[in-house]
């Protein structure tokens, strides 16, 4: 699955478009603990998390993560504006969904995205 195609999944709101929409997602990782993400997530991965603060973007950018999906977000207005601003600055693709982490991961998996331990 290409990172640009995430925008077209149902129930996904795109907050920041990917700079390279044709980039193939290299795998998926989900965690709300930033140090775990730092330790395990790889370049080009899609990261699914509940966290919405700007440090999510810092972590994603440092790891060259392809994009971040923020889950259980019923109202995108509640996401810190600094997070979206920073994502734009750092060119980190950012998506939000009201759905739960599990549901989104299941959808990504059906679209062919594998977990990092399967890839």
């Amino acid at each position: 699955m290409k990172i640009g195609e995430v925008s077209r999944l149902p129930d996904i709101t795109t907050l920041v478009l990917p700079r390279t929409p044709e980039q193939e997602i290299s795998g998926g990782y989900a965690s709300d603990l930033l140090s775990c993400v730092m330790a395990r997530a790889g370049a080009g991965n899609i990261w699914v998390t509940l966290q919405t603060h700007p440090n999510v973007v810092a972590v994603a950018s440092l790891l060259d993560i392809a994009g971040v999906i923020i889950t259980e977000c019923a109202d995108i207005a509640k996401i810190d504006a600094a997070t979206i601003e920073k994502a734009r600055e750092e060119s980190v693709a950012l998506f939000a969904t009201p759905l739960t982490t599990f549901t989104i991961i299941a959808r990504l998996a059906r679209a062919g995205v594998l977990g990092i331990d399967e890839g």
Binding site: T14, L33, S35, N55, A58, L62
Partner: protein, 317 residues
């Protein structure tokens, strides 16, 4: 959300570029008493489709090929520009961003915009073709300048002669300022890319720098310094603070051990993995700490044989 993302650079440019940088000049003009059949020749010879009309130094109207065709249909080729021109002229200011012109083209559906300077003098003319040309030129130029900057940065150590040259980046990391967390690490990573580091190497340093930066933010009394020493063959990362100090380093190194407060944990920090992450992605790690004095973390990353920072980039890429 259907915009084409590659347009981002162009979007930036239409805000950055000024109208005076892309407009055409000098401007071909006519006067109100120019005859329509003369206008036809002026348009044909200059291969243009419209001209501003000036009287003295004042812009009084604009006339286009459409007005000419209408006059031709009516057999009024001997009438004057003054009779056929539009008197309501939409103009732009030379110092405005190109985006202003784009808005005006969209809003009024006109083919060209006379450009005025701050004193209201006609200084140029702008068509959508001028904007396209200006953008293409700016993208080409931007690309070229970026290449030069990258080249210069990646060869920085070549021109400087000493027995040992290094580049030292120092960042003061304030305590408890989570909003800015990751900024220093991100800058270190960008500097490494500039110097020609491979992505894998830059990532290793960035992960360690981030964890060290977070530790300074979360755990120190007064913040601390994060220092990256970039050598041609290695990077040395130092994180130094003046307290409170770690009582038991062995315990601090245990996976999952954390002294982070709950509010920090609720944000996803303080999982007790930081020091472990640093150790895992570095080649050497030294941690000294004394309670009441402070902590000093030193981390080393060695470049593999062929890879060198700051020189000979062209031979490896």
């Amino acid at each position: 959300m259907t915009a084409i993302p590659e347009i981002t650079k162009v979007q930036e440019l239409i805000y950055e570029l000024k109208i005076e940088q892309v407009m055409s000049r000098p401007v071909i003009t006519v006067t109100p008493d120019t005859r329509i059949d003369q206008l036809k020749e002026i348009l044909r010879v200059n291969r243009i489709s419209g001209v501003p009309v000036v009287q003295g130094s004042k812009l009084v109207g604009i006339i286009s090929i459409e007005d000419l065709i209408k006059a031709l249909e009516r057999g009024e080729m001997h009438s004057t520009v003054g009779e056929k021109m539009s008197r309501q002229v939409i103009t732009v200011n030379a110092h405005d961003s190109v985006v202003e012109a784009v808005k005006r083209f969209e809003e009024h559906g006109v083919g060209r915009l006379p450009v005025l300077d701050s004193s209201g003098q006609l200084v140029g003319i702008l068509t959508s073709g001028d904007i396209t040309r200006g953008l293409l030129h700016a993208i080409g130029l931007g690309y070229h300048q970026e290449e030069i900057r990258r080249y210069r940065a990646s060869h920085i150590f070549e021109d400087i002669s000493s027995d040992r040259t290094s580049l030292i980046l120092c960042y003061h990391i304030p305590a408890r300022e989570l909003q800015k967390a990751g900024e220093a690490s991100s800058k270190i990573k960008k500097a490494l890319y500039r110097l020609g580091a491979q992505p894998g190497f830059a990532r290793r340093v960035a992960i360690a720098a981030y964890e060290a930066e977070m530790n300074l933010i979360i755990h120190t009394l007064h913040g601390g310094d994060l220092i990256a020493e970039i050598h041609p063959d290695k990077v040395r990362l130092l994180a130094v603070d003046d307290g409170p100090g770690i009582p038991d380093i062995q315990q601090a190194m245990q996976p999952g051990f954390s002294t982070a407060p709950d509010w920090i944990r609720s944000l996803g920090f303080g999982a007790g993995m930081g020091l472990l992450n640093i150790k895992r992605c570095s080649d050497q790690m030294m941690l000294d700490s004394q309670v009441g004095v402070g902590t000093r973390l030193e981390v080393l990353f060695y470049l593999k044989e062929e890879a060198v920072l700051g020189e000979h980039l062209s031979s490896t890429s």
